[in-house]
């Protein structure tokens, strides 16, 4: 039982890490202030259990202040881990208090078995994926009735802006339009049939639409619902425009819209325009007004309901188009429209696509910040902290970065900037094909494969880059030399194949043979797979994982960030590259008993603007002596580090330093020390 500023918290372990205490302290202050928070704490320091323990305790003590915890995580395994930790906490509670558990927790995972229990509304804790809150299409079905007095936690939130953007972006290809055409025809036939058999149904719908979407409006005014960014408030106050009120008129309207889109896809060069430009064009060409467009999504939903269509999935194309219509007519800012006649890589094959891209992540997350009293954004890597409130447009009451207190320095970040022949190592575009660089990268991996036990994970900046390097290494026989030390496994674009390679990789680490996994930053492995203990004794980041900057969508987004948020392009790109690099290297350290080398193989990492964007818990272990190493120097340092780490490490070594008993925690001196762990910004 811990005392966190007067709040008694049941914590299901004998000991506690100092940073866990500090984390709970900040969390409690955030809840007290009924505000939002941004908290960075390294993975493997028990972030999840700290969050759960504190919020559950808070809920028990102040049931009127906080009545629900909504815990969002990204991947299925993450969600399942949270559920497991929660179960552990609940067992501990019933053991301590002797009462049977009256807390209701609910986990939704995998949409395939999605059924919305009415319990969702009564549950004390809900655990599910980001999409249930951030994707308006799902949030409307699942989450809109969740109480205002909820605490929302976004764990692993370092990529939350991309999730927001994805949920609001639409791509329309010729195939989409063809399928939409079929959908519209089906609708027309169904309407015709119903008209002959049951005309009253359509009349009733008409009458309801005249009265407008008042029902929804009432609900929102009384604050029962989470608002939907696709269904703006203004719509609710108005009746559906007359032009699309009857079913036949609406189908006619859809047809016209479809024809217009088809004509837009008949382009020979790239077109980029803003949403107002698009609306003006559509009015000029086919006389479609902004107003009926805005009601499109809602009108279609009503029609599908009236026609009693069971399988909505068949109508995904027309739903997509009508969602697009509503979005494009609702937001004059934050979106861009790009029509590309072909893929850049294959200019001879016509494959026109209309990209309707959201550039402003704050649009999708705005309702969440507005509705719920506390939203916690947390992850192992959120540096630099201040950028998240800027791009998500909210005011946090707390922002803190916690380091990992260590009794022994179990991580060893090294920046390798030169080959043994003094050639500067970098993945930058100009030297990307430079054979000297590729060869030196190869010798780095080869040397490491000889000295690092068990598993090594290496990340490349992109799949293409990895393919080219692997081919060059193969031709030069470098891979064969590496095979003398370890087996080689490589990520492929096929997820099933990669899963198998991963499992074999683990098997090879397990049986002592040792293996290397070549993988890609921003790929599935880098985002979702942990390499604990011997599964990853070293991680090598080849190059700085900048996003592919030639993409028009990215360019538009960078421009938007510059104009709207005063974030310079380079700052954002570097931030984005460094958060992915941090994710990659962070994969190997999963706790204080773990250890691993983190090798940044690019001289650009030594620069302050890059290094400074790494999480504090990594940054503070980069000494001046490890800034611009040659391959040989890195090997020497690594050998030394690995030998030290191979020594036995016991609980007693940690106690009092990075691991505390309850008594130790309560001493004045320790509390003073702990207060320095949180780094406020």
């Amino acid at each position: 039982m811990l005392n966190i500023e007067g709040l008694l918290v049941h914590f299901p372990y004998d000991y506690i890490y100092p940073e866990q205490y500090s984390y709970m302290l900040e969390l409690k202050r955030t809840l007290d202030a009924k505000g939002h928070g941004v908290l960075e704490m390294p993975s493997g320091t028990g972030k999840t259990i700290s969050l759960l323990s504190l919020i559950v305790a808070y809920q028990k003590v102040f049931p009127l202040e906080v009545s629900k915890l909504i815990y969002c995580s990204r991947t299925v395994p993450e969600i399942e881990k949270v559920v497991e930790e929660l179960r552990k906490l609940m067992e501990y509670y019933s053991k301590q208090t002797g009462e049977s558990n009256n807390f209701l927790a609910l986990a939704l995972s995998s949409r395939k078995n999605l059924c919305i229990h009415p319990e969702l509304m009564h549950a004390n804790i809900v655990v599910y994926s980001y999409h249930y809150l951030l994707d308006p299409k799902i949030a409307d079905l699942v989450s809109k009735e969740l109480t205002k007095k909820s605490v929302v936690v976004f764990d692993e939130a370092h990529n939350i802006d991309n999730v927001c953007i994805d949920s609001m972006s639409v791509n329309i290809s010729r195939r989409t339009l063809d399928r939409c055409q079929t959908n519209v025809e089906t609708l027309q036939n169904t309407i015709q049939k119903i008209k002959e058999t049951d005309a009253t149904k359509l009349k009733m719908e008409y009458r309801r639409l005249v009265e407008g979407l008042k029902e929804a409006n009432v609900a929102r005014e009384t604050d029962v619902y989470l608002s939907n960014p696709v269904l703006p408030d203004e719509i609710l106050q108005e009746a559906v425009p007359g032009t699309i009120r009857t079913a036949e008129h609406f189908v006619g309207f859809l047809k016209r819209f479809l024809e217009y889109l088809k004509s837009r896809l008949r382009v020979h060069h790239v077109v980029q325009e803003s949403t107002p430009q698009f609306l003006k064009d559509i009015f000029d060409k086919v006389c479609i007004d902004r107003k009926p467009l805005r009601f499109c999504a809602e009108r279609l939903r009503s029609l599908l309901r009236t026609l009693e269509i069971a399988d909505i999935a068949d109508f995904s194309a027309v739903t997509l188009i009508s969602n697009f219509a509503t979005l494009v007519s609702t937001y004059s800012q934050g979106f861009t429209i790009i029509i590309e006649p072909f893929e850049d890589r294959t200019p001879t094959i016509a494959n026109p696509v209309l990209h309707f891209s959201c550039m402003d992540p704050s649009i999708a997350i705005k309702p969440v910040f507005q509705r719920f009293q506390s939203v916690i954004i947390t992850s192992g890597t959120l540096s630099p902290l201040d950028i998240y409130p800027r791009i998500l447009d909210f005011r946090p009451v707390t922002m803190a970065s916690f380091t990992m207190t260590l009794a022994r320095t179990c991580l060893c970040p090294l920046i390798v900037g030169r080959g043994n022949d003094q050639v500067a190592l970098s993945s930058k575009f100009e030297t990307r094909e430079d054979f000297a660089v590729i060869r030196n990268y190869g010798s780095l991996l080869q040397e490491m494969s000889a000295i690092v036990p068990d598993g090594i994970v290496a990340f490349f900046t992109s799949y293409m880059y990895m393919e080219n390097i692997v081919a060059a290494w193969y031709e030069q026989g470098i891979l064969e030399n590496i095979q003398r030390n370890k087996l080689i496994f490589i990520e492929t674009p096929d997820a099933a194949e990669t899963s198998m390679a991963l499992e074999k990789y683990q098997e090879a680490c397990e049986n002592g043979r040792g293996a290397i996994l070549l993988s890609v930053a921003r790929g599935k492995v880098s985002e979702g797979i942990d390499f604990v203990h011997h599964f990853g004794r070293a991680v090598i980041m080849f190059g700085v994982p900048y996003v592919y900057t030639q993409s028009r969508i990215l360019k538009a987004r960078l421009e938007y960030l510059r104009d709207q948020f005063q974030i310079r392009e380079n700052d954002f790109l570097t931030f984005d590259a460094m958060r992915h690099a941090a994710q990659c290297v962070g994969r190997v350290i999963r706790g204080k008993t773990d250890y691993g080398l983190m090798i940044f193989a690019d001289k650009r990492y030594a620069r302050a603007d890059k290094r400074g964007k790494l999480p504090r818990w990594i940054q503070e272990h980069i000494s001046d002596g490890s800034l611009n190493l040659t391959v040989d120097e890195a090997v020497q340092l690594s050998k030394h580090f690995l030998r030290q780490m191979a020594q036995p490490f016991r609980q007693e070594d940690q106690l009092g330093l990075s691991l505390l008993t309850l008594e130790q925690l309560e001493s004045e001196e320790m509390l003073k020390k702990i207060s320095q762990i949180a780094h406020q910004t």
């Binding site: 372990y13 004998d14 000991y15 028990g46 999840t48 990204r74 991947t75 395994p77 969600i79 399942e80 881990k81 559920v83 497991e84 552990k88 995972s109 949409r111 078995n113 994707d135 949920s167 972006s169 791509n171 995904s316 194309a317 997509l320 893929e343 294959t346 696509v353 891209s357 393919e467 081919a471 026989g477 064969e480 095979q483 003398r484 030390n485 087996l487 080689i488 492929t492 096929d494 899963s499 198998m500 390679a501 499992e503 074999k504 683990q506 098997e507 090879a508 049986n511 043979r513 599935k524 492995v525 979702g528 797979i529 942990d530 604990v532 969508i553 706790g591 020594q647 609980q651 691991l659």
Partner: protein, 556 residues
């Protein structure tokens, strides 16, 4: 080519006779017999060259197209003998016939010879003392190599049969294909060096190639043709994108692909590495920011790209196969896990009811071992005074009986307990005179502390002489061991051996010990370093003498 059934003089089976074979510029005839190969000059009925197959390490042949058609035998000793086939019309055929026959014969003997030789080699390498002994006794020809090994090998085999029988299955090097990097032979060709080990590795890793080999060799292809085709095949060079129809290995590639596919379809057992079920909800088609990932459809990939991805596939496949080949024998643990997960594999649809593998993995993933109080069995911490020494150099391991930590803790506790409860038994103490004489004897200079003078010798004698003395001791010890092991002498063989051993001892004394004695006498007149050695020899001699006189008595 004739098969001669017998040759009276030798009475051993002759398998092949090849005429017109030159050796050292002399014409003659080559005979391949059941256990050896021999060559005799023309017109004479004796062999001037004869090698047992067991002594032969390998054969080498001259490359095709060379003017001289030759076959070379390399012996284990490193010596070699070259035969030149000089029959104009059938030289190549003769050579190949000899080669093929040797190819079949050599491995049979090789295994046996190799094993022994390897064993001996290993023992000498691992044991520097033994190696020195070998040098002192065998190389300086005090005893013969056979005598030296006679009871050594036997010893080891009997001493630890479990060790040699339970030998761990050796896996396959991940880089075995790297060892056959082609070398150019200087005239527009490539040469691959294949050894039996590499072939074994290829067969174990790629069972389909072995199948092909069994199907085709030697009915359709010679062995050489088979391997030539293998190295030329698309199968070997995965980056080459041509699937020639006449390539016999294209089928292997297909089978591998199939195997790979079925592995992929089977899916992974550990749910935490399953990338397919990682994401809870992928966006519906049409939503999301379009990332410019290279499309995976083959139609719009360049040749280079698909060759690159073929290389990547090949590496994954190769590593998987090597891994599988290494664990093929002891495959059970992985399978068991899969069986348990299959038994209730249908329970996937609920988070709260998970298959055991998943449950275990999840539990592992959320466990913080250091946050929990330890309740493992107590262990004794390794206390390193000089951690540098531990970290840097390998320390030879002395075999000894290890006790578990618990044992050590128990005995320490026991001793502590004894100490606490110790009560002096005052009725049984020594008298004061005895006690003081005991103390005197144990003080430096006392009777029981004579060892102290040895230290003086230690310091007086230069280390080089000390080393020499050690070697002498080791050698003498070895010889004496042989000598004493003959008693009781109850077979004629033993009688012979003991006599021989006695003369060995005498020879040792003459050739080794006496020169050493003279040497130290020149330098250190007073010290008698070899006294004990001589004593030991003398004891042996007198034992021999007694035995001999007894035997004489018995005979008369």
């Amino acid at each position: 080519m004739h098969l001669i059934q017998t040759m009276a003089a030798l009475s051993e089976e002759v398998l092949l006779v090849v005429k017109k074979v030159r050796q050292r510029k002399q014409d003659g005839t080559l005979y391949l017999m059941a256990e050896r190969i021999a060559w005799g000059p023309e017109g004479k009925d004796r062999f001037t060259v004869s090698h047992l197959y067991a002594d032969t390490r390998c054969q080498k042949i001259s490359p095709d197209g060379k003017a001289k058609i030759q076959l070379q035998l390399v012996l284990h000793t490193g010596e070699s003998t070259t035969f030149h086939f000089s029959n104009d019309s059938s030289a190549l055929k003769d050579r190949d016939a000899a080669k093929e026959l040797l190819q079949q014969l050599l491995p049979k003997f090789k295994k046996k010879a190799n094993k022994e030789l390897e064993e001996k080699n290993r023992m000498l390498q691992e044991d520097p003392v033994l190696f020195q002994l070998y040098k002192d006794l065998v190389v300086s020809q005090v005893i013969s190599a056979d005598e030296f090994w006679a009871n050594r090998l036997g010893d080891t085999n009997h001493a630890d049969p479990s060790l040699s029988n339970n030998k761990q299955e050796v896996g396959i090097s991940g880089a075995f294909l790297a060892d056959i990097r082609p070398q150019t032979d200087g005239c527009n060709g490539l040469r691959y060096n294949l050894t039996a080990d590499i072939i074994e590795s290829i067969f174990r890793t790629y069972p389909t190639v072995k199948e092909k080999y069994c199907e085709n060799v030697p009915h359709n292809l010679t062995e050489k043709e088979f391997w030539t085709r293998f190295f030329q095949s698309h199968y070997f060079h995965r980056d080459r994108i041509n699937t020639g129809t006449q390539d016999i290995f294209s089928e292997c590639a297909k089978q591998d692909e199939q195997g790979l596919k079925s592995m992929v379809v089977q899916g992974v057992k550990n749910p935490l590495v399953d990338l397919l079920s990682l994401e809870d909800k992928t966006l519906d088609e049409g939503y999301g920011v379009c990332t410019t990932l290279p499309s995976t459809s083959n139609s719009n990939r360049s040749v280079k790209e698909s060759s690159n991805s073929a290389i990547i596939k090949r590496f994954n496949h190769h590593s998987a196969m090597v891994l599988a080949a290494g664990s093929r024998k002891g495959e059970t643990p992985a399978n068991q896990a899969s069986e348990t997960s299959n038994t209730d594999g249908n329970s996937r649809d609920s988070v709260f009811f998970q298959p055991p593998v998943k449950k275990v993995k999840l539990k592992e993933a959320i466990e913080y071992e250091d946050l929990q109080r330890e309740n493992r069995p107590k262990t004794v911490a390794l206390n390193l005074k000089k951690s540098d020494r531990y970290a840097h150099g390998p320390v030879p391991l002395q075999s000894q009986q290890y006790t578990t930590s618990q044992d050590i803790i128990n005995s320490v506790n026991y001793i502590q307990h004894e100490m606490v409860n110790y009560k002096p038994n005052l009725t049984q103490v020594l008298s004061s005179t005895t006690a003081s004489s005991a103390i005197a004897a144990l003080s430096s200079g006392g009777v029981l502390m004579q060892a102290a003078t040895q230290q003086a010798i230690n310091q007086m004698v230069p280390s080089e002489v000390q080393g020499e003395l050690k070697h002498l001791y080791a050698a003498a010890g070895e010889l004496l061991r042989h000598f004493w092991s003959c008693f009781p002498v109850n077979t004629p063989f033993m009688e012979e051996k003991v006599t021989k051993m006695k003369s060995n001892l005498e020879r040792f004394q003459m050739t080794k010990l006496c020169p050493f004695q003279e040497k130290i006498q020149r330098q250190y007149l007073s010290t008698n370093l070899t006294g004990h050695l001589e004593e030991m020899l003398q004891t042996a001699y007198s034992k021999f003498h007694i035995w001999q006189t007894r035997r004489m008595l018995r005979k008369t």
